[in-house]
Symmetry: C2
Subunit: 284 residues, 2 copies
């Protein structure tokens, strides 16, 4: 039942490590200032020709209750079961033609994805979380909000403060607490040519500590690694702070329980308990 | 000549504020461990059905010189003028069919954009910077690297340590130092319905300080704002740390010179000099 991020292969910034898509949201409204910051983060994303093809329709239940309901009604029944608790729904659209010449923009969706990722990470930075959905009736949304054909409707994000998984029905809670899965790095990144998986370099040693996290329901893992000398640069220390969901309280009470986790650049599991620093050496 | 981020409308996380697309890169190679972290950040991006449609071909000049050259040769001449200094080129592709059922994935490009944004922000966190390019011969890249048709070729990112703009030719340097432009928030975000621009809330007051930044050529701006009470939550203090490029040394020596900057949630310019905290009130 415990939610674990099992296969981190290299250190990542805590904002990126802390991001995930929750289904349980708190009833608490989202402050309009925080919403503004999320949208502002999207605004500064990069885009081809700086076209900024992203458009966001923000439906805040506590501000535009009617719009929120209209957007919610277009979600798939499966998404409605949990998204009904989200105080904010944000529709992301992509302008499929360049503003400067009206020609098709083949990066419109790609760039809108970049802007949405910015928005989501800013949400994490503010203690919020977002869960994007592709499961909605795009035709119905287009009609409900009179969105012209030149905009592609990409996703609806549920945004709010993460809530207690206890509010979820049994099946959804199981999914909420399942471990996070990803393809191994070697299957998505290639060194110079396709088929040649990008391998993370060996490390000389590591030091890890479990601590408290600002994000409810999670713990923070601080890691320092000593990396192999490479291309004459000598051995360097790499710092990293990452995150894992706190073990489910019933199964493995916190603090006190150990949890399983792969330190960066390792394919072998390590048990790191709460408390002081643990260290290791040459884990490959 | 000074590079200024003029129209920040709401506070954003410094990782997001610090991101931009430089043209001047340092000759210094990128450590493979840092490259691994950037790819790892991409790996943890969200995607529809967790399909993870992104694929990255990494061409590190110091590791796969031949592949780097092959990819570089496919860039547009305009991009070649500056990208030739980038130690790493990364090609981002999108798998256009779902892995689980072979059906078309209409979120493939969007999700690849999210992964690339993760990669770029992780690069920023490590003191690196990335500049994406759509200006490349996609057909030629496909052939040069034998990439199957079911992958869309989205962008080539130049990655490396930011360098001194002095290495650029005059025209490129002008672009490098130009201010960053974005559409106003009201044109990309709508409150409940299209046409109704999302407005950032009024603020009660602010306090700002200019400090040193870890990123070369930039300064850090710390801001605290006191926000209007809203929906019964009472007045709260919102913190933020953002970033601006350091004024060009010749025109406005640093430290000592003041620079123009809009504090968050303001449309009016403010001058904030180096040193202690400055404060203001009700700037709308
Ligand atoms: C474009 C997009 C569409 C998605 N659609 C849905 C959806 O309809 N319902 C749902 O529960 N999750 C949806 N997700 C969430 C993904 O399943 C989730 O991002 C993925 O499983 C990875 O998990 P994580 O975000 O918690 O890391 C979607 C995500 C994206 C990016
Ligand atoms: C998909 C994509 C393609 C781009 N293509 C190019 C390009 O071919 N040449 C270039 O100099 N910049 C290119 N850019 C960079 C944009 O011009 C830049 O992101 C935009 O002007 C915003 O500036 P900033 O990233 O510094 O904030 C591209 C960016 C993206 C996201």
């Amino acid at each position: 039942m415990s939610r674990e991020r099992l296969n981190v292969q290299a250190p990542v910034h805590e904002l990126i490590a802390a991001r995930w898509s929750p289904r349980a949201f708190d009833a608490r409204p989202v402050e309009t200032e925080k919403l503004a910051s999320c949208l502002e983060a999207a605004r500064w994303a990069p885009s081809c020709y700086n076209d900024q093809p992203w458009r966001f329709l923000v439906a805040d239940r506590h501000q535009e209750g009617e719009a929120w309901q209209r957007l919610f009604d277009c979600l798939s029944p499966g998404n409605q079961t949990w998204a009904r608790r989200a105080p904010v729904l944000i529709l992301a659209c992509a302008a499929t033609r360049f503003g400067h010449n009206g020609q098709p923009n083949r990066w419109a969706q790609y760039d809108t994805g970049q802007a949405m990722m910015s928005l989501v990470l800013q949400a994490i930075a503010l203690g919020l979380a977002a869960h994007q959905m592709g499961g909605f009736d795009a035709g119905r949304v287009r009609q409900a909000f009179a969105i012209p054909d030149e905009y592609d409707l990409m996703s609806v994000a549920a945004l709010g403060y993460p809530g207690d998984p206890a509010v979820l029905d049994e099946e959804t809670r199981q999914r909420e607490l399942a471990s996070h899965q990803r393809k191994p790095l070697e299957e998505i990144a290639f060194a110079g040519r396709r088929g040649l998986g990008f391998m993370v370099p060996d490390s000389l040693g590591w030091k890890a500590k479990v601590g408290q996290s600002a994000c409810p329901g999670t713990i923070r893992i601080s890691i320092r690694t000593w990396l192999k000398p490479w291309s004459g640069l000598g051995s360097r220390a790499g710092g990293c702070s990452t995150w894992a969901p706190a073990p489910a309280p019933r199964r493995c009470p916190w603090p006190g329980g150990a949890f399983r986790w792969w330190p960066p650049m390792s394919l072998r599991p390590r048990w790191i308990g709460p408390g002081g620093w643990r260290s290791g050496k040459g884990w490959r």
